[in-house]
């Protein structure tokens, strides 16, 4: 094979769909020349379960559980956004106590999700100690969830018009205690990350996203905030208890992976601030935790929630029965992942892993290799054929070596 043809057949390094340490199967084909990435292709759908469609056959109340199971990390964000959407459609307000409880759950989730991210990012960097530590610090948060909601994940707390369970007064000191301990730990982690020269070498200036990129891809959440785009649904379109408490939106300017890490770590402190204020507000009081919703009239509603990974968006249309006729869900990763196209190209494979992780998507590795025939501009569909092709290629590389 001559040189020209060879160039057209770049090695495709697949990332996904299975990886031991990753959550969701997604597939990224990295088109590489040597260690350099020249293009990225995102193939989703390994996780596609047709939730939008299933939602049309379920009762309003059952949909909460369905959307909760869109994702395990943001497992309260989707019900949150969904309930916001229906409440927007209904035009009702939720009782105050329920609003505080909602915020507490949402922020606790942000805490555990950000810690999880720190751990996974550490793992991608081969920094397993950080991985273990961060996950260890995360454990008490999950225990708190187990105590107040009955499960470590998938809390089943949200309900249209309120929350399903109250936070008992005797549990509040437990939450306080966990927060107190966590604060020191996160301070330690933050300090460690900020000061580590090796981390700085690995992360600074890697995977930079400019404001322009953010706008073009519509990226949200910490990804956008790390690039200096100040968007946060909790502030912009206040809901639940967020307008009632004191906190600020964290932004940084550089848009590289390092900044994303910083934004996430600092957000943890804001979350803790919000939680303790909410706890103050409900401690020792009693109150309604759900508003009565008898009918959902026909119409449409939009609900948003700032999930740990960014804005989570639900569009609901009802025809007056007790099932949605259309339920459009947009998870934050859906708009964050395409930013890879901007941030990965020109980087090395080793960096891609952490860039992808920097967005905090749900992504995995271990697929075998596929070869794209760029010349024909056509994807070779047969998987086995791709494998064979790639093996031929390897064979050739080997002989050349």
């Amino acid at each position: 094979m001559n040189n020209k043809q060879q160039n057209t057949k770049k090695v495709v390094v697949p990332i996904g769909p299975y990886h031991p340490l990753l959550e969701e199967p997604e597939f990224f084909a990295l088109y590489c020349e040597g260690e350099k990435v020249v293009d990225v292709e995102w193939q989703a759908g390994y996780n596609h379960r047709g939730i939008e469609k299933l939602s049309e056959s379920k009762h309003w109340d059952q949909v909460t559980f369905l959307v909760e199971r869109i994702c395990g990390i943001c497992s309260t964000s989707h019900p949150f956004a969904y309930c916001n959407a229906i409440e927007d459609l209904l035009g009702i307000t939720v009782p105050e106590r329920a609003r505080y409880i909602r915020s507490i759950i949402g922020e606790l989730e942000r805490l555990h999700s950000h810690l999880l991210w720190v751990g996974l990012a550490g793992h991608f960097l081969g920094y397993n100690t950080v991985f273990m530590w961060a996950w260890k610090y995360r454990e008490p948060v999950l225990d708190i969830f187990e105590i107040i909601t009955g499960n470590r994940n998938h809390y089943a707390m949200f309900k249209i018009g309120g929350v399903r369970r109250d936070i008992e007064n005797e549990d509040i000191p437990k939450i306080r205690k966990v927060l107190g301990e966590l604060k020191g730990k996160i301070e330690m982690l933050t300090g460690a990350v900020l000061d580590d020269p090796v981390l700085a070498a690995r992360l600074k200036g890697v995977g930079v996203l400019t404001k322009e990129h953010i706008k073009n891809f519509g990226a949200v959440g910490p990804v956008a905030r790390a690039s200096g785009v100040d968007i946060d649904v909790r502030k912009d379109d206040p809901y639940a208890a967020y307008p009632l408490v004191e906190w600020k939106v964290i932004t940084t300017e550089n848009g590289d992976v390092f900044d994303k890490a910083v934004v996430r770590l600092l957000e943890c402190f804001e979350s803790m601030k919000i939680i303790s204020q909410c706890l103050d507000a409900i401690e020792g009081k009693k109150g309604e935790i759900q508003a009565e919703v008898r009918e959902v009239p026909s119409g449409e509603g939009i609900g948003r929630h700032e999930a740990p990974r960014g804005e989570c968006f639900h569009y609901i249309r009802s025809d007056g029965t007790n099932r949605p006729t259309r339920h459009k869900i947009r998870a934050p990763s859906y708009v964050n992942i395409p930013t890879f196209k901007a941030s990965c190209i020109g980087q090395t494979i080793a960096d891609v892993a952490i860039i992808l992780a920097g967005v905090d998507p749900c992504y995995c590795c271990t697929e075998r290799v596929a070869v794209y025939d760029v010349e024909k501009k056509k994807k070779l569909h047969n998987f086995k054929y791709l494998v064979e092709k790639s093996k031929e290629k390897t064979e050739k590389i080997r002989k050349e070596i």
Partner: protein, 309 residues
């Protein structure tokens, strides 16, 4: 010296090194776990792993070059064992030959080459990425490692025989006691870290990036052989370093053995600390580190050694 003696020492080294190596690897795993607030595996873990691997089915990928695929782990194993034998026995008797340190150096590079050969024989592209990294890594750490050897050799009176290096140290104290010695030792530790594939230089097997890398297609006993090689290397490498910088060890007296073990443990603890407080480096950063800083340092060390510091 007879062929029988060599053969016997070879077998002994093989057995003792693999057992000690597995224990050392256990210490590594256990300490790592403890440092991460975990319990960690029981002491027999690595033996269990190995025995289990023997019992497993060995799959040879259809597209693989079967001979190379099978031969390379064996090759690696034999090479490391020979290296171990030289370090432990041959060098300290009159059987030692003048350039044995250099031979050991080359033998210690063979396992990496075996991984490269095996990986490329498996015909997997993720493995290919792994090999290319392993190769760069090998090229990377070999140069500083040579520097480390040269420093020690110069310090001990320009000899490349392990025996005389050790002898020199027995008379004049450890080479570590000098400026150039410290430099050489640091380089040696980092290079060995790379050789053993420990973080921050584990990029050839980087799970998060290329899922196991070069060994991705290996299974069963062949994988077990690789593990065994690594276990032996886990002893042979540090021993080599001890011989070069820490005044070697002696098997003739109890104190000699104990001090040898202590020296070994010192190096092991260094490994574990470095490995657990650092993220994995990128290949280009690794190369920059090895070829840039460490090599410069190495040359500086050589100069210092020549000057006599």
């Amino acid at each position: 010296m007879s062929a029988l003696y060599i053969f016997l020492s070879f077998v002994m080294v093989f057995l003792s090194f693999s057992i000690c190596g597995m224990l050392a690897m256990w210490i590594d795993r256990k300490l790592t776990a403890r440092l991460q607030f975990r319990v960690g595996p029981p002491w027999y873990q690595n033996f269990a792993d190995f025995i289990k691997l023997i019992g497993k089915e060995t799959l040879i990928p259809e597209k693989a070059n079967a001979f190379m695929f099978v031969a390379s782990p064996v090759l690696g194993l034999i090479a490391t064992t020979i290296a171990g034998t030289i370090i432990l026995f041959i060098s300290r008797t009159d059987t030692g030959f003048p350039a044995d340190a250099i031979i050991v150096l080359y033998l210690l590079a063979v396992p990496s080459i075996a991984i490269i050969l095996g990986g490329s024989a498996s015909g997997n592209v993720l493995a290919a990425v792994g090999i290319s990294r392993e190769m760069k890594l090998l090229l990377g750490y070999e140069l500083p490692f040579i520097c480390a050897l040269v420093i020690s050799a110069i310090k001990s009176g320009t000899t490349t025989s392990l025996g005389s290096i050790i002898q020199f140290q027995q008379q004049n104290g450890m080479i570590l006691g000098s400026f150039s010695g410290v430099i050489g030792f640091i380089i040696g530790v980092l290079a060995l870290q790379g050789k053993l594939g420990l973080v921050p230089f584990d990029l050839a097997e980087a799970e998060g990036e290329i899922a196991g890398g070069s060994l991705i297609e290996y299974s069963g006993i062949l994988l077990g052989l690789f593990k065994l090689t690594k276990a032996i290397l886990f002893i042979a490498g540090p021993l080599f370093l001890i011989s070069l910088y820490l005044g070697g060890f002696s098997l003739s007296s109890i104190t000699g053995i104990i001090s040898g073990i202590l020296k070994y443990i010192l190096i092991l603890v260094l490994f574990i600390l470095i490995r657990n407080t650092n993220p994995r480096l990128r290949i280009d950063q690794t190369l920059r580190l090895f070829w840039g800083w460490l090599t410069l340092l190495g040359f500086a060390g050589i100069l210092l050694a020549i000057v006599g510091w």
